[in-house]
Symmetry: C2
Subunit: 399 residues, 2 copies
């Protein structure tokens, strides 16, 4: 984190260790609490195999009456049948009760091992212990973020302040990483809080639109989890009527910035990664087509290993675009790696391979810019390189 982040007004949080994770120096249960009913909306995994907490939250949102988000790491409560559904509801009930709220005012998030049942006694004790520690300090906010970490190496918190209709409001979000590891099915989770006043319908649209441009534009390994969830809570504690018009537009823009910051932080902390790769695709007929090409390049193990090896391998990048399923004229394609033109109008250009290679090797960030000649739409996609450490983390935990 580059600077201290604060809760929006009316929000508190805390995180504790309940004994689900093996390391007692880590946290594995968190609460976020609004002191008043908040608008609560969510965007959820599209995986057909979805976890019990996703089903539970989906059934409650959008809502005008959310007070609590209860989160645990270590057990994902996925593929757990009817008992998993009952456990998710019970987790909401006990966490809500500990905070003076009802089960229907409480959303739940879980991440960790799949196919295992929630350890309900630990969850109950964790909820009570966490509720007793609630605070609105930056340290408490960091504890909330730490409570949902799995293979993340750093807590992920981002925030923005903005003035809407003359009132200072804050948008603050936490997230955890997307990569999947060990027997765990880790997950992309994020909760964004704001003290702005916004209607549930506008909040739902704003969040859905922001997710498309942010969390849906990242991948570590292309594997979509059963638990992926992004929640937005807006409690209106900054005062005023729900934002409309220009203020709503300004809020949407700020929400998108926070989502982009959080989304980028995930591949930046990808398992074993040594590079954060930004793939920009320009000159497309539609944004959808640009995204499809960006995702195909970002998911290519050959592109990801090339960047890891500081190899300016334009062939792998251009050929990945070629099989993305988007029609384009390959003779109008340009490619820049870290700002250096390596491929122009469908043909490699003479370039200083050593210079481009060093620019990859010596920077954690790599920028690939692919330009087609089909239109004016563009998209950006973030991913990591693929390293031997990724394979070790994901394969060798048994040995």
């Amino acid at each position: 984190m580059d600077h201290e982040h604060h809760f929006p007004q009316g929000f508190q949080g805390a995180g504790v260790y309940t004994g689900v994770k093996r390391n007692p120096n880590k946290l594995d249960f968190s609460l976020l609490v609004s002191d008043r009913p908040a608008v609560g909306v969510g965007v959820y995994t599209q995986n057909l195999v979805c976890a019990a907490p996703v089903k539970y939250d989906r059934s409650l949102t959008p809502s005008n009456d959310i007070r609590v988000v209860a989160m645990n790491s270590g057990v994902a409560n996925a593929c757990t049948g009817d008992r998993g559904d009952r456990d998710a509801a019970e987790m909401a009930a006990v966490a809500g009760e500990a905070c003076g709220a009802s089960a229907k005012q409480t959303l739940v998030l879980s991440t960790g091992v799949i196919g295992a049942h929630l350890p309900m006694e630990k969850i109950k004790q964790g909820a009570i212990a966490t509720a007793a520690k609630l605070a609105n300090t930056p340290a408490a906010l960091e504890d909330v973020a730490r409570g949902i970490m799995t293979t993340d190496t750093v807590p992920k918190i981002r925030s923005r302040e903005i003035v809407l209709d003359g009132r200072a409001v804050r948008v603050t979000g936490i997230a955890k990483g997307a990569a999947m590891i060990g027997p765990n099915m880790a997950t992309m989770l994020s909760v964004i809080m704001t003290d702005a006043a916004i209607s549930a319908a506008d909040a739902q649209t704003a969040l859905a639109d922001a997710v498309v441009e942010s969390f849906n534009c990242i991948s570590v390994d292309g594997h979509m989890s059963t638990n992926d969830t992004v929640l937005l809570l807006a409690n209106g504690a900054a005062g005023g009527e729900p934002v409309t018009g220009k203020a709503l537009s300004a809020f949407r823009a700020t929400l998108l910035e926070v989502c982009e910051d959080l989304a980028q932080s995930i591949p930046a902390d990808g398992e074993g990664a040594t590079h954060l790769i930004t793939v920009e695709v320009h000159g497309c007929r539609t944004r959808q087509e640009a995204l499809k090409i960006g995702r195909t390049i970002a998911d290519s193990p050959l592109v990801k290993t090339a960047i890891h090896g500081a190899d300016p391998n334009w062939g792998r990048i251009v050929s990945a675009a070629g099989y993305a399923g988007v029609p384009f004229n390959p003779e109008h394609v340009d490619l820049l790696i870290n700002g250096l033109l390596v491929y122009e109008q469908g043909t490699p250009v003479a370039f200083d391979e050593e210079q481009v290679s060093l620019s990859i090797r010596d920077n954690r960030d790599t920028l690939l810019v692919l330009i087609l000649g089909e239109g004016t739409e563009s998209a950006r996609f973030w991913t990591t390189d693929l390293t031997a450490d990724y394979v070790r983390l994901n394969a060798d935990y048994r040995t």
Copy 2:
């Protein structure tokens, strides 16, 4: 290779070292020659960025008058502009001439570095030297296969004999691997020869159908190359009229068997691979849907690393199916790993993790069988595990 393979009647071949590859103990140029005009058909990469030899062969096939296939490894003649197109045509002309055939009777295949021009002097000398060595022995056949190897560790040759309309015919094919490495863009190449008589139209349909069920059902890294090509040459040297009816069906079945054998040999020899993974998907509404799920599971780095780590991680497999984009009821899903039921009706079952883990660890072949409850269609897909060696081979060649 488990046994000796033979050319079909009327075919010869040879392979030589021309100096394109660095190691003079390897071969880098091959010819296959039919002593009479053969039906020649092809199935080509769907990558929009396709190499000059693909464009050249596409322009000539289907044909009733093919005599020669000239192949080189080391330089792929891809992304080489107009000069690349002229070089491919010249390679066909000089190789054809060396064998007493015209350019239009000669198909060309290239694999290796992309963005580099063919070393035409070496290609010309190679064609002359190879034509002087043509033979119809198993050793010559192996040399042909060796001449197109890049990162392959073994030459890939498979064959079948069958009696059609009372005549013994042979179907013999060679292939090279699909993985992509170093500055090379390696490629899946295959040439299948038969002395059966078959019309060009029937040959084209037979090959296209066989490729869908074989070469299109494998992946090493999901990256489709610019040069992928499968050719079928049928010279009718076994005698008789072009096959029809039951004999045609028998030929098609045999061609499919040879294609499946060759296709499987590619991931079996995948870069750094320690496991050949067969993914079977049953109980689907359509074969297309089964294939889509099979490919998604096979391309998941998390599934591939799990198998590498001998981890019976049903969650990664089931959740990969869940994001394949095919609708199904997750509560009707069963999964078997190496014949052992680990997941039934959407819920993990109690199983001996150690036993399943050992069954993965102690065998090069891993069988994943996913059963949906949506219909009666099925598909099979082959892939490799993902290892740290794969990353090293593809990233670290500069260091």
